[in-house]
């Protein structure tokens, strides 16, 4: 598999060098694999720290900036970062109002962030943590590592980031993050597995006539294979899986993220979004806001995920609030 790289072991460091070159508004520590707002710490503002394995860009480093994250810790590809990165990040963004850690629910991420949280607290910094677990494809959470954190992470980072930017205290920012996490549901479909630089071939092989339902964002295969379906059918079963999981059905406005996994053209993604909106409409739902694009990716995986977030008027206002990051920008 050909890649535009200098060698598998250099991919993450090289990408961070590129971010540093492209974004003077960010402070990039290539050695420590940290991306921090250049104006951090912002006095009196809650610091938002997230991170995870690399390969999901723009998540998380691309969401550092005004109105969203203060710092992102970048792990190796598909590998959670280590506690040292997180403690450094927390120290760099602590503006006296404490730090919120936003963690995707994977064993590695949870363990590493938990270790870091203890160390940060030991330093006398107030810490809160929210775990995103929005992937409805993982159903029997009691017999698994629990639901994965996927596309819904964008909602959590954006909404909590907006609250923090407005100057809300840690308890409020953490509450916004938790409500966003609890309101989020995601479901993903792959047409072609991702290829990691280390492995050099797709992490799962999909025959030309099959697609994989309920995929994660780390190249892990999904729960089920099916013969190829059209965009309309994929949208129907995706929307069905999402809405079924809300139980009595979502109340209040919905945010909708139609997300590309990296290898699917934007042209196809918009077409798929049309089907998602149609499928929602057939069930009496019109999303209050839509976002379409590659936001939470899995290297070059072909496919898509849909994330919904059930919000209230306050969260909707926070969604619309200005944000200025490399990966998401609006109103500023």
């Amino acid at each position: 598999m050909k890649m535009l790289i200098n060698g598998a072991e250099r991919v993450v460091a090289d990408a961070l060098r590129g971010m540093a070159a492209a974004h003077p508004e960010l402070r990039v520590d290539v050695d420590q694999r940290l991306v921090v707002r250049a104006d951090a710490p912002v006095e009196g503002k809650v610091g938002l720290v997230s991170g995870g394995g690399s390969g999901h860009e723009p998540l998380h480093a691309g969401f550092v900036g005004y109105g969203m994250l203060d710092a992102a810790c970048c792990g190796e590809i598909f590998t959670s970062p280590v506690p040292d990165q997180m403690t450094r990040a927390a120290a760099a963004v602590h503006g006296g109002a404490g730090v919120l850690l936003i963690v995707k629910n994977y064993t590695g991420d949870v363990l590493n962030f938990d270790m870091a949280a203890e160390l940060v607290e030991d330093e006398g910094i107030e810490v809160a943590k929210v775990v995103v677990q929005d992937d409805v494809a993982v159903s029997d959470s009691t017999f698994t590592a629990g639901r994965r954190g996927t596309g819904g992470t964008l909602f959590v980072e954006k909404l909590a980031g907006a609250a923090a930017q407005e100057g809300a205290p840690l308890a409020v920012v953490a509450d916004v993050a938790r409500r966003a996490a609890e309101g989020s549901r995601s479901f993903g479909v792959a047409l072609h597995g991702p290829t990691t630089p280390a492995k050099g071939s797709p992490t799962f092989d999909l025959p030309p006539d099959q697609l994989e339902l309920g995929i994660g964002i780390h190249g892990e295969p999904g729960r089920e294979r099916r013969s190829v379906l059209g965009a309309a059918e994929i949208a129907d079963l995706t929307v069905e899986a999402l809405l079924a999981d809300y139980g009595p059905g979502p109340t209040g406005p919905l945010l909708c993220l139609t997300n590309g996994m990296g290898g699917t053209p934007l042209l196809e993604l918009y077409g798929f979004h049309a089907e998602v909106v149609r499928a929602l409409g057939a069930r009496g739902i019109t999303p209050a806001r839509s976002l379409v694009g590659d936001y939470v990716t899995s290297l070059d995986m072909a496919g898509c995920s849909v994330s919904l977030c059930q919000v209230d008027d306050e969260l909707l206002r926070l969604w619309d609030a200005p944000v200025s990051t490399p990966g998401l920008r609006r109103g500023r």
Binding site: G75, I77, F78, T79, P83, Y106, L111, G219, E220, R223
Partner: protein, 203 residues
């Protein structure tokens, strides 16, 4: 063969970890391959990165006590691996090192007990039990078989093989449900490599 009263020094433990690093490096691609079947294809890289760093740490900060070696190695794994295996293998070694304290020589029995403490800590941290298709399926029977290093290595290897028919309940492989059946757990395979290296340096 090692007995209950054989004593081990820091050099022995360092040699173990160095041999482990060699084994992990030699088998990294296989570990990644296993992880790609039921995980995310990074386990070989994770272990290689971690154990390469362990060897470097031990060179840069030579330790005089077996406990010190294990503590440093565990801390290094936590700081360099990431993922699930970093905190878990890191905790295994850290807790074992802590249990051994600063004694410059420890008996095989003490080593067994310390590693047992480490394995318990892994079980607690990760919330997994025997049969969940994790590294514990290799670690638990291996520690039971200590201080017979040969038996421990065999038990770890058998435990790792025994994960093949299991359905995973922890870690990434659990997302696959039934489809995790039929594959060896990569973390268990790594654990078997570590126990194999321990046997090797004990001879």
């Amino acid at each position: 063969m090692a007995g209950q009263t054989t004593e081990r020094d820091a050099a022995f433990v360092a040699a173990w970890l160095t041999a482990s690093a060699d084994a992990v490096r030699a088998e990294a691609d296989r570990l990644t391959e296993l992880d790609s079947a039921i995980g995310d294809a990074d386990h070989g890289n994770n272990m290689r990165r971690g154990f390469t760093a362990v060897v470097a740490s031990l060179e840069n900060e030579p330790q005089t006590a077996p406990g010190g070696v294990l503590l440093l190695a565990g801390r290094t794994l936590v700081s360099t691996v990431g993922g699930a295996s970093g905190p878990l293998f890191g905790t295994l070694l850290r807790r074992a090192g802590k249990a051994l304290g600063e004694a410059e020589r420890v008996t095989d029995a003490e080593l067994k007990e310390a590693l047992g403490t480490g394995v318990d800590a892994v079980a607690q941290l990760g919330g997994a039990a025997l049969g969940d298709k994790t590294m514990l399926d290799a670690l638990l029977p291996a520690v039971d078989a200590l201080p017979d290093y040969a038996a421990a290595a065999r038990a770890a290897e058998a435990g790792s093989q025994a994960t093949i028919p299991l359905r995973a309940h922890k870690g990434r492989a659990s997302y696959l449900g039934e489809r995790s059946v039929g594959h060896e757990d990569p973390g268990a395979a790594s654990a078997a490599l570590l126990l194999g290296a321990l046997f090797q340096v004990s001879r």
